[in-house]
Amino acid sequence: MIKEKVRVKTFKIDGIDVTGQSNATLLEVANEHGIKIPTLCYFEGLTPAGACRMCLVEVEGSDKLIPACTAKIKEGMEVTTNSERIKSHRKMILSMIFAERTHTCSVCVSNGHCELQDQAVDLGLDHSEVPYIHKVFEIDASHKEYIYDPNRCILCTRCVRVCDEVEGAHALDILSRGIDAKIIHDMDEPWALSESCTSCGKCVHVCPTGSLFEKGVSATEMVKKKSIITNLIKTRKER
């Protein structure tokens, strides 16, 4: 098979001239040039999912907002990452993520170390723009070391991807759609009964919120070790 030739493309982000390899995503090029685009579901080294929509940007000549984490770059394109329109859309998206589940930060294991909280601070979101739903999900505390609380899950699928792409187990997946969606183990078994879960804990440490956490920690105590996963992915790539 002939490999697609990697070429360099030149375009503009926020008026700044940038270059990127033709197979790079918009987000990757922005990151390389120190241009910050907010993300939630993106995790460096995992296949981008385009699940959260925090990274929406504008491209000159199109009315549609596109997610930077999955967008391919094009020669001569002009990208805006931070207009008033984008900011207001991001606030609405973040509000919907908060309101879809029950985030009681004050008593959460991840309080103070949560990427969802951080996004609210960065975007200046001081209240939800949509009403809270408070749908009840049962917590899975069957595993001897870890707990899954769907009530804090933002459905970013980082856990699903790390389990599949890095651990190679694919013990996790998403069940149902929309408001009913949640993470399951195997065929919706209790976590402890999952035959494919290796108990490696990678899912816990890439999870941006307090949805996956270690047993025994109480409020504010769950600090995720994301760098372990990032380093592992990097080291494997270099081999």
Binding site: T102, V107, C108, Q117, D126, H134
Partner: protein, 179 residues
Amino acid sequence: MKKARVATIWLDGCSGCHMSFLDMDERLVELSEYMDVVYSPYVDQKEFPSDVDLTIVEGALSTDHDIEMIKKIRKNSKKILALGDCAVTGNISAMKNLFGTEAVMQKAYFDLVDHNESGKYPQEIVPTLLDKVIPLNEAVDIDYFVPGCPTPADAIYEVLKAVLEGKEINISELTRFGK
């Protein structure tokens, strides 16, 4: 300059945000030059006054009485400041929504008590619980949101100063959900 007429109230909250307010310590003296507290758990005033410049509300809305109060507050206040996570998001007060009012009443008045001679829930004097606890902005328009559990005194001070002086302020630099 005419002093601002400020009211404070706690609805379904734990009073923690009001404690935090007092934690402004000597800065309260400074603030008192710009504002009079005309209604509050801190002062002895039974009726909510009719002409308030700013009402600071702690706590979520959990009862029919809370709804009545917040509507009155909205009518009688130029500005409303939602203080703390319960007022802003529902927070702990709204955790009840995951189980429902009936389950919570059952727990409180039957399962966990040694005596309940009437065999009923209290129905007189105490207000009736709503089916769902909601943050303030799901019932009325709110002018300022200052999250935190409880909101740190420093944040309350900075926000109040800015509001009284009519200046813009970025609240997210001072506090956040769960702070």
